[in-house]
């Protein structure tokens, strides 16, 4: 198999603690980012519609136009669908652009589909909630490499807000008034 994200750090960031492996029959939701088409054309269109000097300035695309441009190839859609069906994964939803597929499956199915993955439940120490993630990298069958950009729901943890309450500045009314 091939790892589509070999450089993705897969250990939990500080503040997250594993409370153990998730049971094989528990349900998971994974998102498959399917390979898009015509990205260079899309890039050129973005330049044109955003450049006030272009005759196409402000002539934005509808979601349906975007979908027609980037929708994955029939080969990509059928290859991924066959792979999922072969693993017994049937409960999937797509989006209008058809370039994401979110599927519900059991942990056991997910670990079979993505060799190497091992799902653990983590709790955030500072009220960060609970998430299920894999502390080990996953791989995909070689035949899928050209069709899936990455699988979401394995490694990336929610990020805490960096907003802060700073101590108020020292009030020097005399200086302010002067």
């Amino acid at each position: 198999g091939l790892g589509p994200e070999p450089d993705q750090p897969f250990l939990p960031p500080p503040g997250w603690v594993s409370i153990g492996r998730v049971g094989p029959t528990e349900s998971l939701s994974l998102t498959f980012a399917l390979r898009q088409q015509n990205l260079q054309q899309l890039q050129k269109l973005v330049q044109d519609v955003s450049d006030p000097g272009s005759p196409r300035y402000g002539k934005y695309l509808s979601l349906e136009d975007v979908a027609a441009l980037v929708r994955p190839s029939t080969l990509t859609l059928s290859t991924v669908q066959k792979w999922l069906l072969a693993a017994g994964v049937q409960d999937c939803q797509t989006v209008i652009t058809e370039d994401f597929l979110t599927c519900q499956m059991t942990v056991q199915q997910a670990e079979q589909l993505l060799p190497g993955a091992e799902f653990h439940r983590y709790v955030g120490r500072l009220g960060g909630g609970r998430v299920v993630r894999s502390p080990r990298p996953y791989s995909l069958p070689g035949a899928l490499a050209a069709h899936v950009d990455f699988v979401g729901g394995l490694h990336r943890f929610p990020r805490a807000s960096s907003l802060q309450q700073r101590p108020g500045p020292k009030l020097d009314l005399e200086e302010s008034l002067s």
């Binding site: 939701s29 899309l42 519609v49 975007v66 990020r159 802060q164 009314l173």
Partner: protein
């Protein structure tokens, strides 16, 4: 004199009159997005507007919540985003995306991207305070998310991201220290908002750099053509740049613009909280002002602003107050001694082109 940043202070500094509000038209709308387990409360928004919104027409409730709003305590971040988006972009229909992750295995930011790809009709301006270190994300993920942001740009959506609250950031690698860019702030398809402070924190004065203001150069995305001239000018004319080994000078440089990020009043769980700071505050403020510009463009039969950067960089700072004093924080080591980049006249990787001067910005952005 004032005792911290409120909508009145923002409106005064950025030259908004009581008439600079939305018309309530259904054609114009704005949104903020939440990816943490954070919720806002309608009661807080109402109290905030009662305390701080008397001087301008505004809405007292959000028009639509997309996703789940939990029933727990309100979060400071969520409260801030809603309250300042709705007081800068006053009287404009506002949506809140709440994507805390419906399932324990979902990635909330990815869920938001999916929502964008699944709704034909969306608000014109989106402000987002989420950001991750570029080095914490895989190259495959970074490029794919960048494509998603490009899809949004093609549709004429204006996406504003906070530049982050760690200045240039710092990564301790095997070869020593490097600055640490933040993503999606570093995407070439979003407009990134940095942060400023008042020179005198108790008066509406000119602005200086807020030392936390995120900024720098992407290690992943090359510098887009639209900012080539501005960034080359900065790099070529700065006399005190950090050592070149700390950053990738040919990467996408950010932020693009800035707004006040220091000393805000926020109402959360019925309590007015002072001195709240972060670029999470400056982002909804800038977003609200762009929504006001969109309002006027739509009234004049123009298309909405869409992806702003190519136009912004061609304006060369027109419509913005240039911030020319101060530096942001970075690695605490002998080489840079805690200092990243410094602001200077024109564009810089600390405050971008500067902060909004609304009447001038409107003039610059109204036509064509």
């Amino acid at each position: 004199l004032h005792m911290g940043v409120t909508p009145a202070v923002i409106r005064e500094r950025y030259n908004l009159t009581a008439q600079d509000v939305g018309s309530g038209s259904p054609n114009n709308s704005q949104a903020c997005a939440q990816f943490l387990e954070q919720y806002f409360h309608d009661a807080d928004l109402e109290e905030f507007m009662k305390l701080f919104g008397k001087s301008f027409p505004h809405k007292n409730s959000v028009s639509r919540v997309v996703g789940q709003q939990g029933h727990g305590r309100a979060g400071l971040e969520a409260s801030l985003d809603v309250q300042y988006l709705m007081s800068a972009g006053a009287n404009i229909s506002t949506w809140v995306y709440s994507s805390p992750g419906r399932h324990e295995s979902q990635e909330p930011f990815l869920q938001w991207l999916l929502l964008l790809s699944n709704e034909s009709s969306l608000p014109l301006v989106h402000t987002v305070s989420y950001g991750d270190d570029e080095d914490s994300l895989s190259t495959a993920y970074l490029h794919r998310v960048n494509s998603e942001l490009m899809k949004a740009a093609a549709r004429g959506l204006t996406l504003l991201f906070a530049s982050g609250d760690s200045g240039a950031g710092c990564f301790s690698g095997p070869k020593g220290h490097l600055f640490r860019p933040s993503f999606p702030a570093s995407s070439p398809y979003v407009t990134t908002v940095g942060g400023t402070s008042f020179r005198n924190p108790f008066m509406v004065t000119e602005e200086i750099v807020d030392y936390i203001s995120g900024g720098g150069f992407s290690n992943i995305f090359p510098r887009p053509q639209y900012q080539d001239e501005a960034v080359s000018h900065f790099l070529g004319s700065s006399t005190h740049l950090p050592p070149s080994s700390y950053y990738n000078a040919s990467g996408r440089a950010y932020p693009d613009v800035a707004a006040l990020s220091d000393g805000y009043w926020v109402v959360s769980n019925h309590v007015p909280i002072p001195w709240v700071s972060g670029t999470s505050a400056s982002t909804p403020v800038f977003g609200g002002l762009l929504s006001l510009v969109n309002e006027q463009r739509l009234l004049n039969g123009r298309p909405p602003l869409g992806f702003l950067n190519p136009r912004l960089y061609s304006m060369q700072g027109r419509g913005l107050f240039d911030v020319t004093q101060g530096c942001h924080e970075a690695c605490l080591d002998e080489e840079v001694q805690g200092q990243g980049f410094c602001s200077k006249p024109g564009w810089d990787p600390v405050t971008g082109w500067g902060t909004p001067n609304y009447p001038a910005l409107l003039k610059a952005l109204l036509d064509p």
